[in-house]
Amino acid sequence: MSRTHPDTAAVLGQTRAMLASCHRRVGRSALAAYLCVGLHQALVGLTVLAGACLLLRLAGHVVGWIPDVGGTVFSLLCVAVGVIPPAASVLRGLGRLPSLSAAAERLDLATQNHNRIATAMYLLTADTDSPFAQAAVQDGLERLRFLKDEEPRLIQAVWSWRRNAALMAGFAVMTAIAAIVGPPARFGKPGREGFAGVPEGRATPGPIEGKDRTTTQPVNQTKPTSRPAPQATLRRSGQMRASGRPAGREPGETTIGQASGGSQTHAGESRQGAGSQGDATDSASGMQSEKKAKNTVGKANPPKTGPTLSKASPAKAEEASSVSQGSGGGGAMLAVHNAWSQEAHTAPDEHEQEDADRDVEDQKESSTQRGGIQPSLKDRNEAPSRELGISEGQGPPGSGRGGPTPPKKSRGTASLVLGVPVPDFVRGRLAPGATKVTHERVRPSAMPGEPARSGESAARSLPENPDTRKPVPSPFARLVRDYLIALHTAGATGAGNVPSTNGTASEQK
C-alpha cells in the first residue's frame, strides 16, 4: 500500500467514488465499440452466406447435381451468423472493460488536465512518500473534485453507415435473387433438409461416350471425369493411327471394370504389363494404378517421344507398348518406355559419336586456354593408374592392369625445379612433350656497336595540370556558370532538383 497518504484506503475509496460516473461512461462506450465490431462482423458473415447460397443455387441450375440450401437451413444459418459474432464481441468487451486508471486518463485527456488525476491515482497506489508525490496527489484530488462530472474522452466506436448499408443491401439483393432463382430441379432422392441428392442411374458425364460405355459400374459414377494427360493422349492417338484401334485391344472388345472416357487407356496400359485386366470390383486399386500409370507416362516420355513413336511401324509401336507395360511388376522389363534404352540397342556406333564430340569439345577448350597459359580445367582423360602391374602391355589402356598408360602427371615441388624434366600436359601448346631447361654460365662480354652519346635535354611538355589548363570556350563557360548558379540556388532553397542543362546545351550548340 502507498505511503503517500496517511489514510490511503479512504482516499482511494473517495477517488473511486468520484470517478465512478466517468468509469461507467467509459465502460459503456467500450461496450458500444465492441458491439459495433460484432455487428459489422455479423453483416459481413450474412452477406457471405447469402452470396454462397446464391452461388450454390446458380451452380445447381447449371450442373444439376450440386446440393441446394433450403429455406429453413438458410434461415437458421442467418440467425446463427447474425447473433453469434455480436454476442461474442460483447462478451469479449465485458472481459476487457477499461480500468479506473484508464477512466482517469480519459478524463485527464478530455479536460486538458496535464494527467493530474491519473498521476494522483498512480501515486496513491505507488510506494513513494516524497513531498512532491504527496503534493501531486493532493493536487490531483482537488482537480478531480472539480472535474468529476465532466465528459471523459470516450472510446470511439468504429461504425461506418455507408459500408454497413452496402453490406445490408448486398445481403438483401443476393437473398432476393436466390429466392427468385429458386432451387434447382431435383433428381433422384431429395435430402432431408432440402438437399437435392445425386440422381440415380445418371451416367457420369465424360468427354468420350461411345462403345466403351457398354458396361458401367457405380464405383466409377462417383469419380469425376479425369482427362488424360496430353502426352498420353498423344501416344494413344499415335497408336490409334498406327493400328486403327486402341492399343492392346481388339475391335469391339469390352473390358469389364474399365472406366469410360479417357481414363480407360491409362488403366489398360498400366495393368497389361502386370498381366491383369483391371479388376472392376477393386476400385481403389484401380484408381491407384491409374494414377501411377498417368504419372509414369508423364515423367518417362519426353515430349518428342510421341511423334517418334507415331512414325514407327505398327510392330514397333506394339513393341514400345510392351516395353512400357512393366509397372505392374512385369519381371525384368522396363517399367516405362524409355527412348534412350531403345536407342542403346539400335545405335552401335554410339561410342564413335561420343569420341568425335569429345574431340570437338577439346578443340573448343584449347582455344579458350589463352594459348596454353591456362591449363585445361576439364581434362577428361582418366587419371593414370599408379599400380605397377606387369602384363607386358597386354592389359586394357589406363586400367592399371599393365596396359599402355599416359605419362604420369608430375606433382609437387619437383615440377617447379628448373632442370627437372617436366612432362607437358598443357593442351594446346605447341610441340607437346618433355621439356628441359638448362643453365649455362657465360661471362659478360662487350657487344659491338657505337657508344651512347649524351645530348642536351629539352624541356618536355608536361601533362595537363591546373597551370596548363586550357580555357573553356565561352559558350561552354556560360553553360557551366548557369549550371552552377542553378545548383547553388537549389542547395540554398532546399529544393532537391538541380535543373538539367541538356536543353541549354543543345540551344548553345
Partner: protein, 345 residues
C-alpha cells in the same frame, strides 16, 4: 492508532507545504533569471526557457544558428546572472585537446631549477562556451566527451574534478559547412538539447537596436549562484512521474527508432538511427522543469511533447532515403508525436 494517524497527517501536510514552498522558490528564481537575461538578450523566450531548463536539468546545450543572432551573448549573460566562472573556447581546425583540458608546463622554481606543473585548460570552469564546435577536428571535439559525461578531465595520470555546476554550451553554424567536422554521434548524444536560434521578430529588432546602439548599455545583475543552481537541480529530480507518463516518454523515444513497433512509417522508411536512452532521460528531466514552471508537482505528457523536439532532433540520423528526400527532422518529429498516444490502454 488515532494519534499515529494524526501524526502522519501532520507530517504529510508539512511535506506537502514544503514541496509547495520549494516549487514556488524554483519558479521565482527561474522567472528572475529569465528577466535578467532578457534585459540583454531580446526575444527568443522559448530559447531562453530551454537553456535555463537544461542548466537546471544538469545537461548541455548545442545551439545552432547563423552568425549574429546572439548565441554567445546569451551564454555570457547567463553566466553573469549566476555569478559563475565562464570560459570561451573558440574551436578552430588546429585546436588541440591539450588546449582545452590543459597540459604540463615547465616552470622555473624560485630557488633555481625547473619543474613540470599542470596548467589547467579553459574547460575547468562552470560555463563553457564552445564556439563553433564543429570547426575543430573530431580528436579535439572528443576532449569534451569525458568532461560532459563524467564531469572530470584526465590528463596523463591526473584526473581533475570539474566545478559544479558545469555546463557546456556549444554553438555551430548551419551554413559554411566547408572545412568543418560534423559532430560524431557519441558527442551529439551527450548534448541534452539542440536548440535552433532563428531570426528575431520585427518588433524585437527595435529593442535590439535601442539597447545596443545607444549610450546606456544594459547591465545584468547577479540573481543567483552556483549553490542555488545545485539546489534547484535537486528540486527538479524530486518531481513525481507517473507510470503513464514514463511509458509515454519511452514510447516517444522508441518511436524514433526504426524497427520499433511504435515507430511510424516515415521513421521506418527514412531513419537509420533513432534516439538512445539518453533521449528518454532528457525528455523526463526537461519535462520535470516544465512541470515546475507550470506550477505542478508531477510531469504530464504535454510537458514531454513540449520538449520533444529540442531533446530528440539531434539524436535522429537519417538514412540515404531520408537525406535524399531532404526530410526535415522537426516534421518527422511532428509525425512521431501524432502517432504516439498517451493513453495506456
Amino acid at each position: 492508532v488515532r494519534i499515529k494517524n494524526v501524526k502522519q497527517t501532520t507530517e504529510s501536510s508539512a511535506a506537502i507545504s514544503d514541496a509547495q514552498v520549494q516549487a514556488e522558490r524554483f519558479r521565482e528564481v527561474f522567472t528572475r533569471l529569465k528577466r535578467e537575461i532578457h534585459k540583454v538578450f531580446v526575444g527568443h523566450d522559448e530559447l531562453v526557457t530551454n537553456v535555463l531548463s537544461v542548466l537546471l536539468s544538469d545537461g548541455h546545450v548545442l545551439l545552432e544558428g547563423v552568425p549574429g543572432l546572439g548565441k554567445t551573448l546569451l551564454v555570457r549573460t547567463l553566466s553573469q546572472t549566476l555569478d559563475l566562472t565562464f570560459s570561451r573556447i573558440q574551436f578552430t581546425p588546429d585546436l588541440m585537446p591539450s588546449d582545452i583540458v590543459g597540459t604540463m608546463v615547465l616552470h622555473e622554481k624560485d630557488g633555481g631549477g625547473h619543474e613540470l606543473r599542470f596548467q589547467e585548460g579553459p574547460i575547468v570552469a562552470n560555463f563553457i562556451l564552445a564556439d563553433e564546435i564543429n570547426r575543430a577536428t573530431p580528436k579535439t571535439q572528443s576532449a569534451l566527451l569525458e568532461a560532459m559525461q563524467e564531469r572530470t578531465v584526465s590528463v596523463s595520470r591526473r584526473t581533475i574534478r570539474l566545478p559544479e555546476p558545469f555546463i557546456v554550451l556549444a554553438t555551430q553554424n548551419p551554413i559554411e559547412q566547408d572545412g568543418t567536422y560534423p559532430l560524431p554521434e557519441a558527442q551529439l548524444d551527450r548534448f541534452m538539447v539542440k536548440l535552433l536560434v532563428g531570426y528575431p521578430q520585427e518588433g524585437e529588432y527595435h529593442d535590439i537596436l535601442q539597447r545596443t546602439t545607444e549610450t546606456a548599455l544594459p547591465s545584468v545583475e547577479t540573481v543567483s549562484n552556483g549553490e542555488e543552481v545545485l539546489a534547484m537541480r535537486k528540486i527538479v529530480r524530486s518531481v513525481a512521474v507517473s507510470e503513464q507518463v514514463r511509458r509515454y516518454a519511452i514510447r516517444l523515444m522508441m518511436a524514433t527508432q526504426p524497427g520499433s513497433p511504435h515507430a511510424p512509417r516515415a521513421v521506418q522508411r527514412s531513419v537509420a538511427l533513432g534516439s538512445s536512452p539518453r533521449g528518454a532521460q532528457g525528455l523526463l528531466l526537461m519535462g520535470k522543469v516544465r512541470a515546475l514552471i507550470g506550477g505542478r508537482f508531477a510531469v504530464s505528457c504535454q510537458d514531454l511533447r513540449d520538449v520533444a523536439k529540442p531533446v530528440l532532433r539531434h539524436r535522429i540520423i537519417f538514412n540515404f532515403e531520408g537525406q535524399s528526400e531532404r526530410i526535415n527532422v522537426d516534421d518527422l518529429l511532428d509525425g512521431v508525436l501524432e502517432s504516439v498516444g498517451e493513453l495506456s490502454e
